[in-house]
Every structure is written in structure tokens, then in C-alpha cells.
Symmetry: C2
Subunit: 199 residues, 2 copies
């Protein structure tokens, strides 16, 4: 399946935020995507020997590659593919860690359209195999981040499939999820929550 990247959003050129921060040094955390914050957090975890967790590369279907003489291969035609798994995985204290991270502009609920069927099936499999599986949800306008165990997401997903609401309410996330306090280093200290609820 070929699609705009990801979930219909446009691909962001990486340097955008660097440019923002160069010209607005006091811009702070605003404008950083959840992905950037989690990449920085994971880097912090690796550098400090806390956990080894990486974001998986974006899957690409390559159609045409040129091999110019004396320089690097250039991909000339390729398409974004839908991921069949979640975006982040790795190891913490020997256990398998697996999660997806999404953000919403809504202040009252989290739309389930942020996830797709393949990811839900993957989460089910990870749970069945004893892995630690969750989602990190950011309410961007409120700058609030929650960790929700995948088992709860699966229940909300089933509710939707039975004709129920197409989102989780913020109250539900507050009740079944865990608030992650935000900091400077690491920015989103989700391992502290993982440690407290899974170990």
C-alpha cells in the first residue's frame, strides 16, 4: 500500500526544526515533534546506559536507483509504505519494549484513526509473546503526555469496531494511562513509568 507519509501527513524535511531553533533560540520545546523528543530521549537512554531503544526507519518501496560513476547511489523513484509494526522497539532490563507514539491537537479525546489495523495486530502479538507494549500519546495543545498499556488500546479499538466511539476520551486516558512528566534531559522520561508499572 502506497500512501502519503504517514497517515496522509506530508513528509517533513529534517532541517526544519534546526532552522527554527537557530533563528529562535528561546523557542524551547514548542514546535518539536513527538518523534524528535522521543529520539532525543532514546539517545539520552543509550548514552546513559539506561535502555537501548531505537525508532525504526520509515519503510520505503524503492522503484528506481541510479548508480552514477564515482558517487553514491541515488534513489530516483520510491514511495512511502505503510508500516506493519510499531515505530519504536528495543530492550530494557532484558525485556522486549515496543511502542507507538502519536500526538493530537484535540484537548478532549484521542482519535483512534492515529493507529491502523496492522499495528493493532502487531501489538496483540507482542503482548501474547510477553513483550512490554504501549502507546505514548501527546495532547500537543496541552503539552501533556501519557503512556497507555496496549491492552487498553485494544479494548478501545474493539469498542470502535463494535460501532462505538472513534476515539478514546481524555478522561479514559487519564484513568487507564500514566502521566509522563516532561523534562529537559530526558525530555519524555517514559522508562521511569515503564519501571514503575511493569517491573
Amino acid at each position: 500500500m502506497v500512501l502519503n507519509y504517514p497517515g496522509g501527513k506530508r513528509f517533513k524535511v529534517k532541517e526544519d526544526h534546526e532552522r527554527i531553533h537557530r533563528f529562535h533560540p528561546n523557542y524551547g520545546n514548542r514546535g518539536m515533534t513527538l518523534e524528535e523528543d522521543l529520539n532525543a530521549t532514546n539517545e539520552y537512554y543509550r548514552e546513559h546506559g539506561i535502555a537501548v531503544i531505537h525508532k525504526k526507519p520509515t519503510p520505503i518501496q524503492i522503484v528506481r536507483v541510479d548508480y552514477p560513476k564515482r558517487s553514491a547511489a541515488v534513489i530516483k523513484e520510491a514511495y512511502f509504505k505503510q508500516t506493519s509494526t510499531t515505530d519504536y522497539n528495543g530492550v530494557y532490563r532484558g525485556k522486549y519494549i515496543d511502542f507507538e507514539a502519536k500526538e493530537t491537537q484535540s484537548t478532549t479525546s484521542f482519535p483512534l484513526k492515529n493507529f491502523h489495523e496492522h499495528q493493532i495486530q502487531h501489538m496483540k502479538q507482542v503482548i501474547e509473546h510477553g513483550g512490554i507494549c504501549f502507546v505514548i500519546l501527546r495532547f500537543s495543545s496541552l503539552d501533556e503526555v501519557y503512556l497507555l498499556d496496549a491492552s487498553h488500546l485494544l479494548i478501545f479499538w474493539e469498542r470502535q469496531q463494535s460501532g462505538g466511539r472513534k476515539s478514546m476520551t481524555k478522561q479514559e486516558i487519564e484513568r487507564y494511562g500514566h502521566y509522563i512528566s516532561l523534562g529537559y534531559q530526558p525530555r519524555i522520561d517514559y522508562i521511569k513509568v515503564v519501571e514503575s508499572i511493569y517491573f
Copy 2:
């Protein structure tokens, strides 16, 4: 770092092997790459509820994307990036599994240039965090496959860095590694070996 894909090899269009098999239905396993065999094996493991292990997508540095009206986004310029981790990871019986897979045409030794410094550092980290980490090595001309725990690879790597030989001998791999018997389904049953040596 931008490079030809991977380790100087050219990118293979996926359909090649499908075409070979369509015209040569008795072609059997010959000509299948190690990656194809492992992907089929991992699919078998997932479908049979044995383990959840995926190959990570090839990391790509995207430079230019076109958004034609009414059709999918097209990547018009991109480059292969070097991976900072191993290619395969996932979960088996709750434990984190992480490995790299490589093949050689040599019948007597396995060149260490098949691995790069980033991957070696990643393997070290995984071991430190209690993950199960190994390499799957295929001697293609002999159709022999071995699983070698990463701790042994690290010793051979250090030997090289101290001015020692630039490869592991086949005898060393036979001694410190574990032979994986090849089959039809799954093709490379490495989890059987993982079960016997790590659990």
C-alpha cells in the same frame, strides 16, 4: 554517511526472485538470499505464534519528495544511509532478540568487513542490557548456516583491532557457533537454537 547499498552491494529489485521462481518452479532454495529466507522464516514464526521478529526497513535519507495531485507522494531523490543497529529484532518468550545476518562466498572463513563499528557497538549495548544478541552467518557456497553469539563476534572484532586477522575462520565458527539445520518451513529454524542455548 551515504553509501551504496549495503556494504557496497547494489540494491536488488525485489521481484527478481519471484520471476526466477515463476519460470523455474523447481529452482528450489538456490538463489534465495539469506534475507529472503529469514523473512520467510520470521513470517512462519509470526503466523504460528512462535516469535515476533521483523527485519527493520533500510534507512533512507530523503532529500526531495513530490506531491502530485490525486496520487501518492513520490520520493524523487534519496540516499541509502548506514544502519546504526542490526537488521532484525523482536520478542521471543518475553525476551528481547536482536541479530544481524550476513553471508559469504568463502568456504574457509567469514570476513569481518561484513560488520561495521556502529553495529558492533549496538551489539555490545544489547548484551549489557540483557538482550539476546547474535549473528546468523551463511556460507552460501556450502549452504551452511551458523548462529554465533555476539559475545564471540566481539572477541574476533577486538582481535582484528589489535592487528589480528580480518576474518573468523570456519573452524572458529564451528567451534563457538551453533549449526542451524535448514528446512522447508521454516527455512532457517534459528529459534530452535535460541531456545536450546539461551533458555
